[in-house]
């Protein structure tokens, strides 16, 4: 019995082991596949996110400009009441004549044409005539954008095949647009206006310059507060403070501050800076103050780890030749830690550049046409501009929102690249 059992038992153990091994290897492959799939999914999300925003936004950078000779009719423009004349109607009537159409008595035709021409052209005529009264009675050529809906048609986002009742422009208006283009009055080109103009209620006149300047001013305030204060605080905690209960408390406190939701900083800014200290609402100053408080823990943590990386031998050498502790830190330790400090500082500023929620609390959401007037004037910043445009109902703001995101991402990538380069260039291993 035992003799018979042994030979059969031997191969069966081998078989079970081999079968189990097969299963274990299959399990191994499956596990590896899960890991790979997770990474692929994560990267796919990134690709879809960026790809979708580029696809939505790139059309903003193409712009259709209308160049029109306008006869400043003395019968309609009086010298003593320049602002009283209807320049939009003046332009529309003459364009209508150029297209060989006639306005009816109710003015529906010219009204329909005005829906195609940006009010910017009318303002340009007014500005020119205001500057030089002798232009009345003469013909001047002005160039300005086609109205947003017309732009959408030229870019192919509004199609003729769509039912007439479902699009904003009717067949006649589309035919006019085609003829204006055929006559060479409309030319497409790079949209410089998007980068040189500020927010506007008219999509075709809206740009991001005001938001870029606002962001830059806010970051200037943030950097000039958070970096010195953060670096000094970190230096004190790392190099001078006696280790004990207090420094532990501060350490826990700083780690916690780094994880406090950003919106809470907005509430702090509203209660303390605006209502208590009376800093003007929606100004780059108050935004920069709130962002500085948010960036402070990050700067402190980055500086502390940079200081920790400087070997003690440097300190001992400096102290050994008679430097005081303050001299040791300022002449030797801090300069050696500087690349790490700056990397951390730039990354925290990049984070501040993209932060939106706390700024909504302190009133930065208001509509600000033009570039901010000083640090206490009203301003908006890039991410908030994105938020404002995303809320706008007009279809033409959608592509501008995506384009503003592209501008924002470009700045963030530049800052991150700077941080990486700095780290690569100056990093030292001891």
């Amino acid at each position: 019995m035992t003799d018979a059992a042994l030979p059969t038992a031997q191969p069966s153990l081998r078989q079970t082991v081999e079968a189990r091994l097969k299963r274990r290897h299959a399990e191994e492959l499956r596990f590896r596949f899960y890991g790979r799939a997770a990474i692929i999914v994560a990267l796919l999300f990134l690709a879809v996110l960026v790809g979708r925003i580029v696809a939505q936004g790139y059309t903003t950078f193409v712009d259709y400009q209308l160049s029109l000779p306008v006869y400043v009719d003395p019968a309609r423009v009086q010298v003593d009441d320049l602002s009283g004349a209807n320049y939009d109607l003046l332009i529309a009537d003459q364009t209508l004549a150029r297209l060989g159409e006639k306005d009816d008595e109710l003015g529906t035709q010219s009204g329909k044409l005005m829906e195609l021409i940006s009010t910017d052209l009318g303002f340009q005529v007014l500005e020119k005539v205001k500057a030089d009264h002798s232009l009345i009675g003469k013909t001047i050529t002005i160039t300005g954008p086609v109205r947003a809906d017309g732009q959408l048609y030229y870019k192919g986002q509004m199609k003729r095949t769509t039912d007439e009742s479902e699009r904003k422009l009717d067949n006649q208006q589309l035919a006019w647009l085609d003829r204006l283009k055929a006559k060479g009055l409309v030319k497409g080109g790079f949209n410089f206006g998007f980068l040189t103009k500020s927010d506007s209620t008219e999509p075709e006149q809206a740009g991001v310059l005001g938001a870029i300047v606002g962001s830059a001013m806010m970051l200037l305030v943030t950097a000039s507060l958070a970096i010195p204060v953060g670096v000094l605080a970190a230096t004190y905690l790392e190099e001078f403070a006696p280790k004990g209960r207090w420094s532990d408390l501060i350490e826990v406190n700083i780690n916690n501050l780094a994880a406090v939701p950003s919106i809470v900083y907005g509430l702090l800014g509203l209660a303390v800076f605006i209502n208590w200290l009376g800093v003007p609402r929606s100004s780059p100053l108050v935004g920069g103050l709130v962002m500085a408080l948010m960036a402070l823990p990050t700067v402190i943590i980055a500086t502390r780890s940079a200081l920790k990386a400087v070997p003690p031998s440097i300190r001992e050498a400096a102290l050994g030749v008679g430097a005081s502790r303050t001299q040791t830190v300022f002449h030797h330790v801090l300069p050696l830690a500087m690349p790490g400090v700056m990397t951390g500082a730039i990354l925290s500023l990049a984070h501040a550049l993209g932060e939106t929620a706390p700024l909504l609390m302190i009133g930065m959401i208001s509509f600000v046409p033009g570039v901010p007037q000083g640090f206490t004037g009203a301003a908006t910043v890039l991410p908030v501009q994105v938020f404002i445009w995303e809320n706008a109902s007009e279809r033409a703001f959608e592509e501008r929102t995506a384009a503003a995101i592209l501008v924002l991402l470009t700045f963030m990538i530049i800052m991150n690249m700077a941080a990486i380069l700095l780290r690569r260039r100056f990093e030292r291993r001891w």
């Binding site: 890991g35 010195p228 000094l232 700083i254 994880a259 939701p261 919106i263 702090l268 200290l277 963030m412």
Partner: protein, 480 residues
């Protein structure tokens, strides 16, 4: 303007005193630093600090609080005609005084008779006070700077311990900077608690924490603001929780598995490519995720569910089909899923750190016993890293609860108690933004409710963070 000029003048002045002090002490020491206690620069710095720092502080304080001081002084002894107005009308009057004094747009209130006289008198007084405060502070700063220099210059001699004195100033600066971090916490807690107390004065705490109806619009009418139920925050907590759960269902497995792959399997090259790409995903501003959720994911999900609903319509699941055809862009699923994408790199990089800090000896031991890599990960590495990974997940939960922009742009405003991910829900952060971005007075319970919600949010995230940081710390000590 005057402030900037004064500050510039102070900088120039203290620069001059720096040079003067250096010269003086060098001359006294016979031109040789060997006879001095400190390096010559420290004598200069000592005098320059006394010349510049107190005066600059005074000028800055005057610039910060001058307006408030002026306001307070104006209100002392108001004219009889103003004194009989209600506090709100007085506020308008004094706002108009300030506006007129600064040649700004005043309110449209028309003032007649004694009121107009009062306005003119107070405007003139406001202009006087402003000039007095501005020039007075600059004059006081000048006196301070000059006397500081006078006293400091008298003290410096070659044997004066200038370096120690200057380092005393530096130490003071160090402590002021370190205290800022604590002051921020005190400021957050103080402002949240203070405003919340005022809110809980109007709405009892248990109504807020246990009430099941959230409708702050009702509270717009002043006679109704304390009515029970309008400020019950439970639906907001439920919505926040639902979105957080969806986000974690997306982020936890993807983040954890990519961390495992990156730390246990990936070679140097793919690590070098994948890590920066994940960092980009982590650096994308949340407003961008919000835009993506609202205009891309939302419509796609909705049309997907509509198509599914149309396919099912008429069949045995007709009621489900009708429901699917009625879902809106702002469903909890969209906000939760996109928030999950945002959290992937966060979970992944935290878990990566944790897994990497498991000692290599544990892995080597397991592999040497014949375990496959996946068995090593599952049976050895993950159990060892478990507390740390739990902490990472808690931190991710804390981020999800406090995240604002995605939910503001992609979740709705309807406060509903539901666990259906296709429903529209609202969250604590959305309501804070909604309550504070309209135009309303600061003292209305509607605005104060935002601080009540903020305090709740702060307490919850604070507890999550404390627990998580504690666990991570304990865990690190275990292997160090």
């Amino acid at each position: 303007m005057l402030t900037w000029v004064a500050l510039l003048a102070l900088v120039l002045f203290s620069g001059t005193t720096y040079v003067a002090a250096r010269r003086k002490v060098s001359a006294a020491a016979g031109g040789s630093p060997r006879n001095m206690h400190s390096l010559p620069g420290y004598y200069g710095a000592y005098v320059a600090l006394w010349a510049g720092a107190p005066a600059a502080l005074l000028v800055l304080l005057a610039a910060m609080f001058g307006g408030r001081l002026e306001d307070a002084l104006l209100r002392v002894q108001p004219p009889a005609a103003v004194a009989q107005l209600t506090p709100a009308e007085q506020q308008v009057f004094f706002d108009d005084v300030r506006a007129t004094a600064h040649n700004l747009q005043a309110s449209e209130t028309s003032y007649e008779g004694p009121m107009q006289a009062a306005l003119q008198a107070k405007t003139a007084q406001a202009r006087q006070l402003e000039a007095l405060i501005a020039y007075g502070s600059v004059a006081a700063a000048a006196v301070l700077a000059l006397s500081g220099v006078f006293l400091a210059l008298r003290r410096i001699r070659p044997d004066f311990r200038a370096r120690n004195k200057v380092e005393g100033w530096v130490a003071g600066l160090f402590i002021v900077c370190s205290v800022t971090a604590i002051l921020t916490t005190v400021g957050i807690v103080g402002s949240l608690v203070w405003e919340s107390l005022r809110f809980f004065h109007a709405v009892p705490l248990q109504d807020f924490l246990l009430g099941r109806e959230w409708d702050p619009q009702i509270a717009m009418r002043s006679d109704q603001y304390a009515s029970k139920g309008a400020f019950g925050a439970v639906p907001l907590f439920a919505g926040t929780f639902l979105i957080m759960i969806i986000a974690m269902i997306v982020a936890a497995p993807i983040g954890l598995f990519s961390a495992i792959y990156l730390s246990e399997y990936a070679g140097g090259l793919s690590r070098a490519v994948v890590k920066p790409l994940l960092e980009i995903l982590a650096g994308v501003p949340t407003v961008v995720y919000g835009f993506f959720a609202a205009l891309t994911v939302g419509p796609i999900f909705r049309s997907g569910f509509h198509a599914l609903g149309e396919a099912l319509a008429g069949g045995p699941l007709n009621s489900l089909a009708l429901y699917l055809m009625s879902v809106q862009n702002q469903m909890a699923l969209v906000a939760g899923a996109v928030m999950g994408i945002m959290l992937i790199p966060f979970v992944s990089s935290l878990s990566d750190d944790i897994i990497n800090s498991v000692p290599q000896a544990l892995r080597d031991g397991s592999l040497a016993m014949g375990a496959t890599r996946s068995e090593t990960v599952k049976k050895v590495v993950l159990p060892a890293a478990l507390p740390g990974i739990m902490a990472a997940m808690l931190l991710a939960v804390s981020r999800a609860v406090g995240e604002t922009m995605i939910v503001t742009m992609a979740a709705g405003l309807q406060a509903k108690m539901t666990i259906n991910p296709l429903d529209t829900v609202t969250t604590v952060t959305v309501q804070i933004v909604t309550l504070l971005t309209g135009d309303q007075e600061f003292d209305s319970p509607k605005t104060l409710a935002a601080f009540g919600l903020g305090l709740t949010l702060f307490v919850v995230t604070f507890l999550l963070n404390i627990i998580a940081l504690r666990i991570v710390q304990k865990y690190r000590e275990q292997y160090d």
